[in-house]
């Protein structure tokens, strides 16, 4: 990658991060709307910035598949709202009991447990509301049956055989020895399902060959993301990470690092990265952002 391309990618990331922030700010109900505190807390939790990796993946897949920006915005917003809800609920005392999120008090610390519970619930509803707005098919080439497919993909990725199911397996596995296969199955649900949904939603206007390719890309990059996360949990410090470092290891949760060791975990991430890139290679001309994002996920030091 030349310096020019790197600069270009960094500018693209910044532009898209700013764009999804504005889009979400417009989508979330204003604080002036009743119930005010709930809406304030929803905005506090969903507009807290962050890397917006899922939105970036969605936009990158949309660029590959010529998905109109109106659709990509709705898809990226919906996925980020689901992700935001999961963080709010995961941080609660009965789950991970985490006081910090992106360097700020987590939702239940800033407000209270009941508010955090409702914030998560309402953010999930909002995700499906955004994706089911009738105007999405009015001014674009998106067919109604494709819009239904977007909703179905997101619902499956979020539920008990997707993200929420992965969280349940994660909780049940604390302190238990897991094989690498079991750990992988857990992460495929907990983190992988929503990352895959982000890519598939962005690719909704692609050919079936394109959709198959990005699906494989997404499965591999979703796992790589989690392996890198486990590596960062060991290598980064709390200030850089914006959340409590070493938490997984300290709470006796199985991670790629505890199962494989640091060196093999890094090799595993590299292999997943290469498999992701290989999957989209046939569409090389239009996959620049997806390739850059894969590298970005591998290299992040935050």
């Amino acid at each position: 990658m030349t310096n020019l391309a790197a600069l270009d990618f960094s500018a693209w990331v910044s532009a898209k991060q700013a764009h999804i922030e504005v889009t979400l700010a417009r989508t979330l109900p204003a604080v002036s709307i009743t119930p005010n505190t709930l809406h304030e807390a929803m905005r506090y939790s969903a507009l807290a910035g962050g890397k917006r990796v899922r939105a970036l993946l969605c936009y990158a897949a949309a660029e590959m598949c010529d998905t109109p920006i109106l659709i990509a915005d709705a898809a990226a917003s919906a996925v980020e709202l689901i992700h935001a809800y999961s963080l709010v609920h995961d941080d609660m005392p009965c789950m991970d009991d985490d006081d910090l999120r992106r360097g700020k008090p987590s939702c239940h610390k800033q407000y209270d447990d009941a508010t955090a519970l409702l914030v998560g619930d309402a953010l999930q509803s909002l995700a499906f509301q955004v994706l089911s707005e009738p105007e999405l098919t009015l001014n674009t080439n998106l067919q109604a049956h494709q819009q239904i497919s977007l909703l179905n993909i997101l619902a499956k990725a979020s539920g008990s055989t997707g993200m929420a199911g992965g969280q349940a397996i994660d909780l049940a596995s604390v302190g238990k020895p897991l094989t690498q296969a079991e750990l992988e199955a857990m992460h495929n649900l907990k983190t992988g399902a929503l990352i895959k949904a982000a890519v598939l939603l962005g690719a909704v206007c692609g050919s079936s060959a394109q959709i198959t390719a990005v699906s494989t890309y997404a499965a591999n990059i979703g796992l790589a993301f989690q392996v890198v996360d486990d590596i960062l949990d060991v290598e980064a410090d709390t200030a850089t990470l914006g959340k409590t470092a070493g938490k997984d290891a300290n709470s006796n949760k199985p991670t790629y690092v505890t199962i494989l060791g640091l060196d093999l975990a890094k090799q595993h991430a590299q292999q997943l990265y290469e498999d992701a890139i290989a999957a989209i290679a046939p569409f090389d001309d239009n996959t620049q952002r997806l390739r850059e994002l894969a590298a970005f996920i591998m290299q992040r030091s935050f």
Copy 2:
């Protein structure tokens, strides 16, 4: 109402209650599917029986508007899944902290808080999954844009300007004096939004005049339902109610009974009932079930 009609209605209710139970049992993931405990807890919470008033309203509206049974089943299931998720989350210690639900331990007592949180989250996702299945438009006269409308109505009814928002206002109002107008606004969201959605979803295949009529019916019957609930909270005992009686009064929550007194609360419920019946009067031939259900909601002593 003749005895024959009453018997007929009672048979219809029993048949529909059994039917939605079977439909939900088929819809919910089997316990044998991973994560097993989460799926067991989802089934424990969503198949706990109950009156299934929302499903009954949905089926009654479907009969009025000739909505195919495949669509009515999906709509009734989705609404009952949203209702079930809200009960699981409402019972949690950080919310109403209720140990009993329909005479059995509530989800977080039977399992634990983390499981209850995930059960609610996953039941919500499942509701949107059921309504977004592509086969709903394949073998029926339902158009794809109508299916999208179902999803949009349910999402709005569930979120921060619907059910979850009503719950937030309810929590914020404990111990505060509320006017009748404020109480009504709260219940319109907390209970009314989902009851209205149940009726509107069932009426999806109706004419616009029919949909307008059932919308007014639903708004009135939704409020009547809550007024009757408040009356029952005072008049029924815990064993009959299947949940802790007198809880709202004891926790200093405003109710129709505390604001209006028992007699005026009963008069108010009667007025709402009559307004509901008047709204659907122009379609008298096809509204038998909706009329019977309105009477049923008024007369329930459980």
